[in-house]
Amino acid sequence: MSSILDQIYEKAKLNPQKVAFPEATNEKMMQAAYETGKDGYIIPILVGNAEEIKALATERGYDLSVFTIVDINEEEYKNKIIADYVALPDTRLKEKALGRRMQDPLYYAMAMQAVGEADVTFAGIDNTTGDVLLAGQMIIGLKPGISTISSIGLADIPGYEGSEGSLLAVGDSAVCTNPDPEQLASIAISACDTVRELLGWEPRCAMVSYSTLGSGQGPLIDKVTEALKIANELRPDLAIDGEFQLDAAIVPAVAEKKVKRESKVAGKANVLIWPDLNVGNTAVKLIQQFGHANAYGPMLQGFNSIVCDCSRGAPVSEIKGNVVISAVRAAGSKQ
């Protein structure tokens, strides 16, 4: 069977999305944009100083027809984006402040995305994660009802036979450090939306704790149950349940023993939500070190549309994978 990433690549090709690259002059970024664009997985939009981008692309031997190049110094198009942006409801920046921010290609790309000229903004090789998150919150904004940006990762664990085969989505292992109950609810809700967009799964999301349905007591568990309550109230359409220990969440036999009530999730969860980043980060390392898992992500979630932050040391192959993943999420979010 082909790997999950191969399947995602195939999915991307069926409905290529417009991905804006505000760090287009970066050599690795341009290569990733070019190769994914040339092979038809995405429509790459390079945002920056057009002359510089063209010169570099030519020097690197790329066929310029693969790219759409947007010159941030060209006034007419910029003014159109600004006018469309300030006409949107609930946007933060006004004309003048936005115009100034858009001197930075990162903000320019996101403004394009906000007005529908791009589907994804892909950055993070020159900008820090903090830069990307700030620009995203300022320009793209958070989804209604969502109180924090967070992330999930997708683990492909050899030998694991869960409800989605060897795959398991887990979060947040990277972004939201110490979520309060409302934020933890946001993480769970966003995670369900993310796996549905990317993988077409029917999410079954477990809020993980050291206790199963009141088997333990204390403030650490109270936070999780409070989050569960908020998540269920906000999104009754989603199967989010807990609090479950990890085994009760993913092992049917354990769930049968410990969960003495109806649950769409217990024993067959395909999404695990950690109570905080201490757990989340450690858990991912455990899955990788002892489970020899391939982990994909972190995928940012909670924004009104898809923003992707790649790691600054990422090799081109990893950047390409993340570009294609974010494009498939964007296509999925439109359905």
Binding site: L93, G130, L134, Q137, T148, Q183
Partner: protein
């Protein structure tokens, strides 16, 4: 804009971003203890300061402010 006007404006923007009545926010109001906001509110505040006062305060500088007065100082530096 003199210092008094600036203080009044920043208080107004803080109150708006954190969904408080203006009377609830003073120069001594602590972001951490009194407003208990998440980074989302701080982002909104930084954006409002850009819109209304034409000053770009970096998010990390704004987040480092203990009180509203500290933020007024930061904005004043940027004006």
């Amino acid at each position: 804009m003199d210092r008094k006007e600036l203080e009044a404006k920043v208080i107004e923007l803080v109150a708006m971003s954190y969904n408080k009545a203006e009377g609830e926010v003073t120069l001594e109001t602590s972001f951490k203890d009194d407003l208990k906001g998440a980074s989302v509110q701080m982002v909104a505040l930084v954006a409002e300061i850009e819109n209304e006062l034409d000053a770009m305060v970096a998010l990390q500088d704004a987040s480092a402010c203990a009180t509203v007065k500290d933020l007024v100082d930061k904005v004043e530096e940027e004006l």
